[in-house]
Subunit: 157 residues, 2 copies
DNA sequence: TTCGATGCAAATAGTTTGCATTCTA
DNA sequence: TAGAATGCAAACTATTTGCATCGAA
């Protein structure tokens, strides 16, 4: 059950057609705006704001409105295709949901690094046992300072 | 060195006068708006948005503008008296910096629970060793689902 | 009497919504 | 051709900024 008719996306990352098929299964229609957005999401790989994604889409289709980007990102998030991460202040960032992972967000330079689930697996388990709280790895974002900013701060001031 | 002239606030929680003294040490002036904000922060205890704090302040001084609340919260944050937590979407929340702790933010009902530093101490250490990234415990917010919402979702649908 | 603090208005960033129109299935 | 998707404008939320005035030290 991994063909275009499947409810579940392949574990090694979905193709554009997989995602569009998933959309159709849920009553959605295939449009060029959606196809482009998904392509851009796959090409960029990393964490992008809605505006950055819009910029990429615009280079190929200038008429796609930012509103449409937001609406389609919402839909893709509901379907579990993309994950939204809030990096403190500034815009939310979107990326394809692949393997579960968390994020390190540097307060100083804005860098977003990914950490594999294994690193915080213990925490997630402990929190569930002790607090009955189920952490969503996809949204996990730890704020702090990256190496370079720590170093700069130590040297500069 | 824990008197009004000290740079460091008492470990068991500052008093209103402690905070005002700290402000004065840093060139700030004592105003009724600041005193009230600090009082409200201490009375409420939990995590409040700027608007909620303004509401509390207004009940005693309706003329204090929301802008002033923001400006004073900024200043208190710079001094390390309050910590700001971004709970995903919605407004940032502010609370007194006491013992280091993280937050569990329920995506469904918005509940914010505190967890002692010990729970995620291992994570913070691992992340520092493996990624050179220093997590700020004060800003640590894990998104997910609290017990009651998980239960409701399981029952309801 | 100086300079920080405030009130007010307005700007800003990011995101959402309403509605008429367009286009897919 | 019904209903989903879009473009556009406008609203909206949270926050910041500019500027004249006020008030603490």
């Amino acid at each position: 059950m991994t063909g275009p008719g499947s409810e579940v996306l392949p574990a090694d990352g979905p193709t554009v057609e997989n995602v569009l098929a998933l959309l159709r299964e849920h009553g959605g229609r295939t449009t060029s705006a959606k196809r482009l957005l998904v392509e851009v999401l796959m090409a960029s790989g990393g964490h992008r704001s809605a505006e950055q994604l819009a910029g990429q889409v615009h280079s190929r289709a200038p008429d796609v409105h930012l509103t449409t980007i937001y609406r389609n990102l919402d839909e893709l998030e509901r379907l579990g295709v993309v994950a939204r991460t809030y990096a403190g202040h500034g815009p939310a960032t979107y990326h394809l949901s692949t393997a579960p992972h968390g994020h390190l967000v540097c307060d100083a330079c804005g860098l977003i690094a990914e950490v594999p689930a294994a690193v915080f697996g213990g925490l997630v388990g402990a929190v569930r046992e002790q607090y009955g709280f189920t952490v969503s790895p996809e949204h996990l974002a730890l704020a702090g300072r990256c190496v370079s900013c720590i170093r700069e701060e130590a040297e500069g001031g």
